[in-house]
């Protein structure tokens, strides 16, 4: 017996759950902001100005807006990559390493001279993407072949990649003339062009948007995506239905790794003229947060990434204009992830609403029957 609710303007339980999920997100944001404002009051010597910076800082100049857009770009890549990992049920944390690997591997190609523009970037992107694919693919292979826990192996791989990269940069392609630990200059033929003249927003933006669209179509419109999501939802069912489980897991890790690696390539060739990272960049961890916010759907990654980029730009503004440490922003981030991920947060309220709603629907139905 299934009661049809819709005719009577009563919500179905599924719709109520959806609304509560939005409410949970909104409350998490509010709570996080509240705590941030409290912390600012605690340390600031000019709380009013700093709260304004936190809330509106990124919008106060074109320079800051373009900064925000540039922070947004890499997040599109790692966010989409992690959506792929999580959708297939693999807790692969190697997007961090893949991003870094993409950056340093494309550096090796970008310092080679004599390659025509356009082609040069494509070669760099291929190198970076492949490096990323290897980094994220390994945990996938280790899981499917040897049953090694992906969480642990991917954590370890991040560090292996970090030190391998640092070794190559400092021992193989280090430019003594740079004055700091950095590679030789990238050739101009490899660098990404400015997208909007007068700002430093680069054409990586277009690539990033394309990657998100690609990720969405792949996951939700293609047969490959159906396999990924089915395996993530119930791997035994997927196998019994005849899906090639191990193959899809490895392919999706390779693909996500390629995207994260491409993100690293785009970031260094769009923003810098040398490779100068001395540690992991956190873009992969950010990607995990974004995938959680977007519930593993790349469609929502741009919005979630914009939010994070906005916060990060606020952090820069605070850094420049006040005595409030920009770590406030990370604290906000932590609180938001916690409460959005807490499935039972508000569950009691949600349950009561569903019960009340069902009772209402049943009484309406009886009313109709009595007429």
């Amino acid at each position: 017996m299934k009661i049809k609710f819709k005719q009577n303007n009563v919500l179905t339980s599924q719709e109520i759950s959806k609304r509560f999920s939005i409410l949970r997100t909104a409350l998490a944001l509010l709570l996080a902001m509240g705590i941030a404002i409290l912390l600012i009051f605690l340390v600031s010597n000019n709380a009013g100005r700093d709260i304004r910076s936190l809330l509106l800082g990124p919008l106060t100049s074109t320079n800051r807006i373009s900064q925000m857009i540039n922070k947004w770009i890499p997040l599109l890549f790692t966010g989409t990559a992690v959506c792929l990992f999580f959708s297939v049920g693999q807790i692969n944390l190697a997007a961090e390493g893949a991003f870094f690997a993409g950056a340093f591997t494309s550096t090796l190609v970008a310092i080679i001279g004599g390659i025509p523009p356009g082609l040069h970037f494509i070669l760099c992107a291929l190198a970076g993407g492949l490096a990323g694919a290897i980094v994220c693919g390994l945990p996938g292979i280790m899981y499917t072949k040897f049953n090694v826990l992906t969480v642990v192996s991917s954590l370890m791989i991040n560090y292996v990649v970090l030190y391998l990269g640092l070794f190559i940069i400092t021992n193989v392609v280090r430019d003594p003339a740079a004055g700091y630990e950095a590679s030789y200059r990238f050739k101009n033929t490899a660098r990404l062009a400015e997208l909007i003249p007068g700002t430093n927003v680069h054409t990586g933006l277009i690539i990033g948007v394309l990657v998100v669209v690609f990720g969405y179509l792949l996951l939700y419109k293609s047969t490959f995506g159906l396999q990924i999501r089915t395996i993530g939802a119930n791997a035994a069912f997927a196998r019994y239905s005849g899906m090639p489980v191990a193959k899809v897991i490895v392919l999706s890790q390779l693909l996500g790794g390629f995207i994260a690696g491409l993100g690293g390539t785009t970031e260094v060739l769009g923003l810098y003229n040398r490779f100068g990272y001395t540690g992991l960049t956190n873009h992969g961890w950010d990607g995990i947060m974004l995938a959680v916010l977007a519930r593993n759907n790349p469609k929502y990654i741009p919005l979630a990434a914009l939010f994070l980029a906005y916060l990060r730009t606020s952090a820069d503004v605070l850094n420049l204009t006040s005595n409030v440490p920009s770590e406030v922003i990370n604290i906000i981030q932590a609180i938001i992830i916690s409460f959005i991920a807490a499935e039972r947060f508000l569950a009691g309220w949600e349950y009561r609403t569903i019960v009340k709603n069902t009772e209402k629907a049943m009484s309406l139905k009886e009313g109709v029957a009595n007429e």
Partner: protein
């Protein structure tokens, strides 16, 4: 190169292996207790940072080491308490809340450091205390062994003692038995009236004490002050070592010594102008290879049965 090898087998070197192993050992034992309760906590980085920071602040403001120990433990326990509450009662995926708490651990301690000292880098201004070193009377006088075994920080002895304490706790106490039961078969435990969530909560709190000790060691023994993000991935290595040890305290301890050796070789190698990155990479690479080998071995054993 031969110089390097000869240095590896000196007493000083072996002593430094033990020193380097201490914080990882604490975390690995923490991860072990957590895994017996079937909860994968990746928040140890954050917990250690909170504890390390608490230790420094507590000792600086009370002027006693005990004050540092207590505040360090308290902060660490608050963090793992949040973790346990979210995982067990709000049904949050352990990975996500763990990730959040690691961010909080890093940002929160820097924020606190800045509030108290005005510096975001380290706590040298606070003038915090350290735990004393322990010279063991008779052993100290034995030529090589004395240098290896004696003169370490008291927390190092606590760490190595903890291997046995954790072993006894898990395998020889009623609570340990219950933790193993709820971790392996929560339904069976519940059918005997054991409160599964409460038992897991207690296991996590104990795990939190161990991880906090690791953090406190970092800022009150390994270094005499707090620096930002001073855990540097040790929380993760601890988890990996536990995974390699297959849930056995003694085996886990052996892996820790291997990691400690890799760490120590890294330090030595730098003084010989060898690329330090390879040495820094060693523990992680060892883990990866170890994980594959161990699982190949386990699979084989399964087939043979």
């Amino acid at each position: 190169m031969s110089d390097l090898l000869s240095m590896v087998f000196t007493a000083d070197f072996l002593g430094s292996v033990i020193r380097m192993s201490t914080p990882i050992l604490f975390v690995a034992l923490a991860a072990l207790v957590g895994s017996k309760a079937d909860v994968l906590c990746i928040a140890y980085e954050g917990i250690m940072l909170f504890a390390a920071f608490g230790g420094v602040v507590g000792s600086a403001y009370t002027g006693t080491v005990t004050g540092g120990l207590l505040l360090g433990l308290l902060l660490g326990m608050i963090l793992i308490g949040i973790f346990a509450y979210f995982v067990l009662y709000l049904h949050t995926r352990p990975l996500l809340i763990g990730l959040a708490l690691n961010i909080l651990g890093s940002a929160g301690t820097v924020f606190g450091l800045y509030m108290l000292t005005g510096s975001k880098a380290n706590s040298t201004k606070l003038g915090s205390l350290t735990f004393p070193e322990l010279h063991i009377p008779l052993i100290e006088d034995i030529p090589v062994l004395g240098t290896v075994l004696s003169g370490h920080n008291i927390l190092t002895y606590v760490a190595f003692l903890s291997i046995f304490i954790v072993h006894v706790f898990i395998y020889r106490t009623g609570l340990g038995l219950r933790i193993r039961a709820v971790g392996e078969s929560p339904k069976a435990a519940a059918s005997l009236g054991i409160d599964v969530n409460r038992t897991k909560f207690i296991a996590l709190l104990i795990s939190g004490v161990l991880a906090s000790m690791g953090g406190i060691f970092l800022s009150m023994a390994y270094l005499p002050y707090f620096t930002r993000d001073m855990t540097a991935g040790r929380g993760f290595i601890g988890i990996a070592a536990e995974s390699l040890g297959g849930g056995k305290p003694l085996l886990t301890g052996i892996w820790i010594l291997i990691f400690g050796a890799a760490d120590a070789i890294g330090n030595l190698a730098q003084s010989f102008r060898l690329p330090s990155q390879f040495a820094q990479m060693a523990p992680y690479l060892t883990t990866l290879i170890g994980l594959v080998l161990i699982n190949v071995f386990r699979e084989k054993k399964k087939v043979n049965r």
